[in-house]
Amino acid sequence: MSVKETAAGIAAAVAAGRLTASASVEAALARIAAIDPGVNAFTDVTAERARARAAEIDAGLAAGKAPGPLTGVPFAVKNLFDVAGLATRAGSKINRERAPSPRDGALVRRLEEAGAVLVGALNMGEYAYDFTGENAHDGPSRNPHDRERMTGGSSGGSGAAVAAGLVPLTLGSDTNGSIRVPSAFCGTFGLKPTFGRLSRAGSFPFVASFDHLGPLARSVADLGLAYDAMQGEDPDDPWQAPRPVEPVTDALAQGATGLRIAVAGGYFARGGEPDCFAAVARAAEALGASRRIEIPEAARARAAAFIITAAEAAGLHLDRLRERPGDYDPAVRDRLIAGTTIPAAWVHRTQRFRSWYRARVLALFDEVDVILAPCTPCRALRIGQATMELDGVTVPARPNIGVFTQPISFIGLPVVAVPVRVGDGLPLAVQVIAAPWREDLALRVAGALEAAGVGAAPVAE
């Protein structure tokens, strides 16, 4: 099998007996050994476990066991997911001193129940407070399309591993954009589901109000397969919403037919490099979407996300900040310390604004089914780049990479990041945004863009 094969392709080959799970896993391990030293996506390769699991799958298939939807598909997870036997480091120096996890996180278990095989854990920005993919302890993950460039973060290894063809499927987390930004910079598809849809049990938290988990892949069908396998109630996650399993895979063939699609204007049409908006225009043209819609008070929503993020993250880390602040990545530590000074009254007010904003944005979905917006205001920046120029103004790079993602995750809307090439430069992505619980619509539109040749996630050469 080619390294460019999708998860669906691998699973079909294994199910048909053209490929064994062991051969699939060995190919991934060989690719990781050859390529990963240059991209630094992996922090742990669980080769022994993966080989044992693959052998078990092959033995089961030989004995007549029915294959699952992801049988034999190698995958890897951001290292904030619990992996049995590994300390869940969450990109930090401090957490790697923790005891090894006794069991896998909920979504890891669900993917393996569907037949997938975990091959390792992935680099990330410390404690997920990051848009760059840089890490002071493990080194930066490197963009497979240009290794001097950022992967985006904080799920940097998750983007790099997929874009480099190391594995066809990874999991990441997205609080303010941490799946969507690496998808844009590395040119992968990524799904941030509705807030509360997928279980967060067995993952290291960042901001309880905004944390989401989801997949990255090189095709929309692969996102759908992984997402369907991960749905379902989990009593271990008190924040999960009581939703039935609502599979999307069969709906993808419907494409965008009959859907009302609009482009976000105003805030989402300025403050970025022209090609970011050109990518949105290209997607809109392919979908025949000429309508523009205004998401109200998006700048305030981004500011509000900034405040809640800083306050909740500071609360989560307070003990560690008191006991060993010198062991943090300085870029993370100083923001966490600042977060401890935020007045509670501001947080309360901000959570009230969040209700107001949610109601106004949800009303837009009476008129449209899907909204298109840029994913990032720029292409992948150089590793270590501290500032960038937007609309002729020099601004700090780190906080501004997420200007277009934050107002969306702030209210938990489902989004598919669709990689769209403009010119011959580095990748960009478009956010395909739907109403809560309508991942199916966002994925259908993403699939339509892929079918039209506008959205594509080729392996970096």
Binding site: R322, D334, A338
Partner: protein, 71 residues
Amino acid sequence: MTTPPPSPPLPLDDASAGAVVDAMMPLVGIAMAPEWRETVIASVKATAAAAKLVLDFPLDDTVEPAPVFRA
């Protein structure tokens, strides 16, 4: 719904932000190294600027906070 009174004057200057940081560190129990102070202050100023945007937006008293707890 009424327009709120003006929020604290911004941009918060370095001295004011520094005073906030210096007052808060004993309260939250963090031993901040002197060399971290400048970037912490910059972050406090950025947070205050973000807060001004939110605090200046009028909200009716009946608007509930977003998180919902169910016993």
